[in-house]
């Protein structure tokens, strides 16, 4: 669907170099990277909004490297939505529809379709500056999707939203993508967002693609320091959440069942921070719902703290102070217990 070969973009301060990507038809593709990695520029290059020094971009096999943006069929949604401030919600959405030389009936039908899909019929006559962040986002998505683009580009779509809205929008993006199957490239600096949404993830750092793979590959075998740090700092597991009669939920991952607190169900990911895990020599009886026995398989000394890998299985990375480490006489091969609260687990 999208092939990018040896793309080189000059950004004055630094360059995007040797960018090679292949995105399949209908895929939800994530570009993950820290702030300033050139993610937005990469998106704008795909949309034809950034002059390209060298390299090649193909859409459905057709070379579009120098094609004008209006002829590409690539829609973009920016982090802060960038709605046309002087136009109503309705005019924002029909802006693109009318340009696609449709008859009045076709425009109306397309408008009704997307408005219905996004559930924003009550907003049509409002001006953008009267909308909440979540509403603006929906309108921006409606405007981008209304023209039935071949590719949808999302520039940090969740970063500007507050945490409660974010979870809803994330679900919504998943849902929309499942319905429309439009090839999507989503740029983010949020590791968990990337893992939750991506069919494939490309890691971008210092203007280069560092790694491409499935979410599982990215957090199991990170080949860059940036990703390794994230993966280390999180203890990420993939698995499935099922509900129990008493309202709590169980996360099933290879070999272990964790008690978690979430309304989500199905194939998901769980993360728990190393600093939230308690290590003890004896089984603890406490209010914490998760307590497991395991063996220390690896120790990484970081000075005043140490990272221990405890294998249940799976492997949990736990943080202890060097003092605790000494006093508890921890060592590789020793059997210990790890304890953490159900609320310390983030499901995404």
């Amino acid at each position: 669907m999208i092939q990018i070969k040896n793309l080189y973009v000059d950004l004055k301060d630094f360059q995007l170099q040797d960018v090679n990507l292949a995105v399949k038809e209908g895929e939800y593709f994530i570009i993950l990277g820290p702030t300033g990695a050139g993610k937005t520029v990469l998106l704008e290059s795909i949309a034809g909004l950034y002059p390209i020094k060298s390299g090649e971009i193909r859409l459905r096999g057709k070379e579009v490297t120098q094609l004008e943006p209006e002829k590409r069929g690539v829609s973009i949604v920016y982090q802060d939505h960038v709605l046309f401030p002087h136009l109503s919600v309705k005019d924002n959405i029909t802006f693109g529809l009318k340009l696609h030389k449709q008859t009045k009936q076709e425009t109306k039908a397309a408008l009704d379709w997307i408005v219905e899909l996004m559930g924003i019929s009550h907003l049509l006559n409002r001006k953008p500056d009267t909308l909440s962040g979540g509403e603006q986002q929906k309108v921006a998505l409606a405007r981008a999707l209304g023209i039935r683009p071949e590719v949808l580009l999302l520039d940090e779509p969740l970063s500007a939203l507050d945490p409660e809205t974010r979870e809803g929008v994330q679900k919504e993006l998943r849902h929309l993508h499942n319905q429309l199957k439009v090839t999507t490239i989503h740029v983010t600096h949020d590791f968990e967002e990337a893992i939750a949404l991506g069919d494939h993830i490309a890691v971008l750092g210092e203007g280069r693609i560092k790694q491409v793979g499935t979410p599982e590959q990215i957090f199991r075998q990170p080949n860059s320091e940036f990703i390794a740090r994230f993966a280390m700092a999180r203890n990420i597991f993939s698995g499935e959440v099922t509900g129990k009669d008493n309202g709590s939920a169980i996360f099933h991952t290879k070999g272990t069942e964790l008690t978690v607190v979430t309304d989500l169900r199905g194939k998901l990911h769980a993360s728990v921070r190393p600093e939230d895990i308690l290590i003890s020599n004896e089984l603890l009886h406490s209010s914490a719902r998760n307590c497991f026995g395991g063996t220390i398989t690896h120790i990484a000394d970081r000075g005043s703290t140490l990272y221990l890998t405890v294998n249940l299985p799976p492997d949990f990375i736990c943080l202890v102070t060097s003092r605790s480490f000494r006093e508890m006489e921890l060592a590789e091969g020793k059997k210990v217990y790890i304890t953490f609260k159900a609320t310390a687990i983030h499901i995404f």
Partner: protein
């Protein structure tokens, strides 16, 4: 400190307001009315307003595209060009008039070319228009430029991805979002055009615009006969100026 600043502020406000009020208040209503019915005065004021409108329209079509380029693009010598555009504001306007006369007089190719298509600049309305254009267009260009700078370039980018050509993006997104800056720049330009005397008088003493007429009456008949013309010019300009600014500001609130 605040007190000192207020005091200094009051001094400069009085300096601006007192002469205007004094001149209007001291006028004999009878003479004012006579002046208002004087065909020479009416035609001079009309010519001032009209020529300044033409200059502003020309300035709009030539200046707004340049303002857009200056706001959106970087090129070598841009700073120099921006400085040059503001030069008409700082040079003496009689000097500006002489410079224009050199170029648009019949001894230079530009003047010859216009003569060829039937436009004369010496002692003509066209001469008044270019004199006004020269000294006042920087106000419009600067204001439009600042306006375009405030429009998020990504609005244009989104518009392009939605299928709009560069022209369509400009006409339907950038221009409507800048109209307030352009309008207020146009008002400034128009007002500056009306108030022009130095450059106009060098190029076209006749037909006479209001400021030239004030000068001639003052030279020929003295203060008493020049004042009513000046008063009427000021009142008319104030009414139109305040009216237009009110329109711009009303848009701001909504």
């Amino acid at each position: 400190m605040t007190f000192t600043f207020i005091l200094l502020g009051v001094v400069i406000c009085l300096f601006i307001i007192v002469p205007l009020i004094k001149m209007i208040a001291a006028s004999d209503p009878g003479i004012l009315l006579d002046t208002l019915l004087d065909p020479q005065v009416i035609s001079a004021i009309w010519l001032s307003l009209y020529a300044a409108v033409i200059a502003t329209i020309v300035g709009f079509f030539l200046g707004v595209p340049l303002a857009y380029l200056l706001a959106r693009t970087e090129f070598p010598g841009k700073k120099l060009l921006e400085g040059l555009i503001d030069v008409p504001i700082v040079i003496p306007h009689t000097a500006a008039g002489i410079a224009l006369l050199f170029v648009f007089g019949r001894n230079f190719w530009a003047g010859k070319a216009f003569h060829f298509i039937g436009i004369e600049f010496v002692d003509s309305t066209a001469g008044i228009v270019i004199a006004m254009l020269f000294v006042s267009v920087p106000f419009l260009i600067d204001s439009a430029k600042e306006g375009f700078k405030k429009v998020d370039v990504r609005l244009e980018k989104v518009s392009r991805t939605l299928g709009a050509s560069p022209w369509q993006s400009f006409l339907r997104i950038s221009l409507p979002l800048t109209w307030r800056s352009i309008l207020s720049g146009s008002i400034m330009m128009w007002a500056r055009g009306i108030s022009e005397f130095g450059a106009v008088v060098i190029l076209a003493y006749h037909p006479m615009i209001a400021s030239t007429l004030v000068f001639e009456r003052f030279e020929t008949y003295g203060l008493v006969y020049s004042r009513p013309v000046a008063v009427i010019l000021i009142i008319i300009c104030l009414i139109i100026f305040i009216g237009l600014r009110a329109i711009v500001h009303r848009g701001e609130k909504t």
